[in-house]
Symmetry: C2
Subunit: 139 residues, 2 copies
């Protein structure tokens, strides 16, 4: 496990979307935007259904994510964080995590997903292997 | 080849960065942000050095890219475009394409990369296979 620099942790905990890559059964990339946060040293995101991302990670734990950030390098390249990691899926707790993340992504008073009886869902937990991109966190 | 809806083409031609995924020799994902534009029906980006992205695409043409956009779905999910495509590399023309894209990404009067004698470089040309994400372009 690699440490996530504080500057990168701030980006993960911000309201910027993460572009999350997983690998399909045929090895092709699958890409979607997700809400992310930190749980200890792991990057986490939540899924109510057992969607393609969850199925892909259960089969191949190699993931990458990028998050755009404020700031520019040399006045030309916008800052962005890339994290390469190893992911695992845990069962349950998705609605509670989505509610937490909704406070960051949508607003402090937002109720989300707002279902009366949400399914337990799944949480993706990503261990950081390597950090890249453009910004103070990049090697 | 799938057609890129006009609403998606607008996003590709905007000043929003593309999160481009290629596949490393071991099948793991490689992810970085790039400037993109359209050349006919192909999505294009430029590289001065023969970097990891170029080498990856020469070996495995399967790519994906995401671009964040304005607008929300159901007041909760920010719009973003995903394109799954097949890429090829052509030699030369990188500095000219970077100069064109710099007008969109940095400003109408910007000179970029501004080298006196830039290397010919490489252009990535992506044929659109499938469009996804969240927004009017999503199936």
């Amino acid at each position: 496990m690699a440490a996530l620099p504080d500057s990168a942790r701030e980006i993960v905990e911000s309201d910027a979307l993460a572009n999350l890559v997983t690998l399909n059964p045929d090895g092709s990339p699958q890409l979607s935007c997700v809400w992310v946060g930190m749980d200890g040293d792991e990057i986490v995101c939540a899924h109510l259904p057992r969607n393609r991302k969850v199925q892909n990670i259960e089969r191949d734990p190699r993931v990458a994510l990028s998050i755009e950030a404020e700031g520019m390098s040399h006045g030309a390249l916008k800052y962005y964080l890339v994290v390469y990691g190893t992911a695992r899926i845990t069962d349950g707790g998705a609605a509670d995590l989505l509610q937490d993340l909704a406070h960051t992504y949508l607003g402090p008073d937002v109720v989300f997903p707002g279902m009366p009886d949400p399914p337990p869902g799944y949480i993706t937990r990503i261990t950081v292997d390597r950090v890249g991109g453009v910004g103070p966190w990049a090697p």
